[in-house]
Symmetry: D2
Subunit: 151 residues, 4 copies
C-alpha cells in the first residue's frame, strides 16, 4: 500500500536570536528580514538532510527564487528567540515550494511560502531537478516514503 498521500512533509526548525540590526524604528524586526530567515531555515533543512545547499550550487544548479508570499501577524523583537519552521509544500520536477512558520513560543508571528525553479548555472536556463536530488527532495516532500522514520 502506498502511503504517499498520507505522509506529511518533513519539518526542519531553526532557532534564531533576533539581531539588533534586524529591528527598525517601529521597535520590531523589519519585514524584509523574514525572507532572510526563511532562507536560513532552507539552508538548515538541506544540511539536516545531508545535502548542503552550497554543495548543490557547487554541483552547477541554483534553486532560484521566483516568488514569495508573507503574512505578518506579529513582530519579533530584539531579545526574542524565534523558531523558523520550513518544509517542502510542493514538489515538481522543475519547481519546489517551501512553506514557513515563524513562532515565538506558541505564538505564530509570520507565515509564508517561497517558490523556486531549478536553474543550470552554466546556461542560466531552467532545468529539471538533478537526479541525485530527486530522492531526497521527494522524501522531504513526504512522497515515496513507507515509514516516517528518517532521523
Amino acid at each position: 500500500m502506498s502511503a504517499s498521500e498520507e505522509v506529511a512533509p518533513l519539518r526542519h526548525v531553526e532557532r534564531l536570536a533576533v539581531r539588533y540590526a534586524e529591528t527598525d524604528q517601529m521597535g520590531v524586526v523589519h519585514h524584509s528580514n523574514y525572507l532572510v530567515w526563511f532562507e536560513q531555515a532552507r539552508t538548515g533543512l538541506c544540511i539536516a538532510r545531508g545535502f548542503p545547499y552550497h554543495e548543490i550550487e557547487a554541483s552547477g544548479v541554483w534553486l532560484m527564487v521566483t516568488g514569495a508570499h508573507l503574512k505578518y501577524r506579529g513582530g519579533a523583537a530584539y531579545g526574542d528567540e524565534v523558531d523558523v519552521s520550513v518544509w517542502v509544500s510542493r514538489y515538481q520536477s522543475r519547481a519546489l515550494h517551501f512553506d514557513y512558520e515563524v513562532t515565538r513560543g506558541d505564538e505564530l508571528l509570520v507565515s509564508g511560502t517561497t517558490e523556486h525553479v531549478w536553474v543550470d548555472v552554466a546556461t542560466k536556463r531552467t532545468c529539471r531537478i538533478p537526479s541525485h536530488l530527486v530522492g531526497p527532495f521527494r522524501e522531504l516532500a513526504g512522497l515515496d516514503r513507507v515509514t516516517g522514520k528518517l532521523d
Copy 2:
C-alpha cells in the same frame, strides 16, 4: 457623471542604482532587497503627494505591513539603474494595498503587492485612516477625482 471607476491610480516612480551590498553570490540582487525598494518607493510616493511618511508616523499612526507578495522574473545587477513604480491598488478605511513594478528599461524584473493596516501607535491597535489622510489616499487610489490632472 462620476468618473471614479475609470480613473487610474496615481503612479510614482523611484529610480535606484543597485548597491554592491545588495547583490549576493548569484551575482544579482538578493530577493529580500526588493521589499526594501518597495518601501523606498512608498516613501517617495508619500513625499511626492505632500505627506511624508515620517510625518504620518510622528502624528501617531503606523501603516503596518501585514502581507507581501513578490514575483521575480529577472534579477537586477550591480551597475544597473532600475525604476520602482508604486501605486495604491486597494483603498479601504482600515487597510491599504500597494502594487509595484521594478523595471530595467522596458524589462519587467519584479512585481509585487504589499498589504497594510493603520495602527494607532499609542494603543498598538488597528484603527481607521486618519481623517486628514482620507482625501490624499483616495486620490492616490484613483477615487473621488473628476480630473486626472494632479501633478
Copy 3:
C-alpha cells in the same frame, strides 16, 4: 595582592552559520555584515553574563556606538561556520571598547574594535555607566577580580 592588571578580560564566543543573504557578488560575506556579527557577539556576551542588552535598554540607557575599526584578512563564505569572539578591551566610567575576532577554524578572518558611550535614553545625553552594571562590566574587563573562575 591585586591581580587586576594580570587578569585577562572574559571572552565570549558566538558561533554563526553564514547566511546566503550576507554574501555579495564577490562570493564572500559583504564587509558591512561583520559589524552586525560583532553586535550579535556583544548580545551573546551580555546574555552569558546575565544582563541581556534588551534589559539594559529597557532600564533607560543605550550603549551607543561612537567608533568602529575593522581589519579584513579573509572572507567567510556561504557554507562556513565561523566563531565571533568578543571581549571588553577598555573600561571607563563613560565609555567601553570591545574587541573582536572572527575565525574559521584556526584561521583569523576579521578583527575589530567598537567604541561605545553610555547614553541616557530620556535626555539623549552621555552619562556614566549605571551603578548596577559597574561590577559586571569591570569583571568582564578583567578588573577587580581575584580569580578567573567565573563560569
Copy 4:
C-alpha cells in the same frame, strides 16, 4: 613647477534619502549601514570619473576592502536626506584609501576611511593597479595634475 602636493583630491558627493529599513529600534540609522553608503559613494565617484566599478570588475580586478574605520558623531534619521562625500586619501600602486564624510546640511554625522588592495580575480592574489586606471586614480588622488579643472 609641479603642483602635485598642493592639489586637493577630487570629491564626489552622493545624496541619499534614508531608508526605513536602515533604521533600528534606537530610531536612527544602524551603524553598519554607513559602510554600505560609503560603498555607494565610491560607486558614484567611479561613475562620475567615467570608469564604473562594475566595468573594473568585469576587466578582472577587485578593489577589495582590507580595512575600515568609522567615527559616529550623530545619527541620520528616516526622513533625512544626507550627503555622502568621498575622495581618494591615499594612492599607492597596490593600495587605495578612501575618506568619507556623511553630512546632514552643515552637520557632520559620520566620517570614515576604507582601505583597499587590488586583487586579480583569476588568481585571487593582490596585484598592481591596472595600467589604464593609473591615470584616472592618480588624478582622483590629486596627483599629477597641473590644473584643477576636471569636470
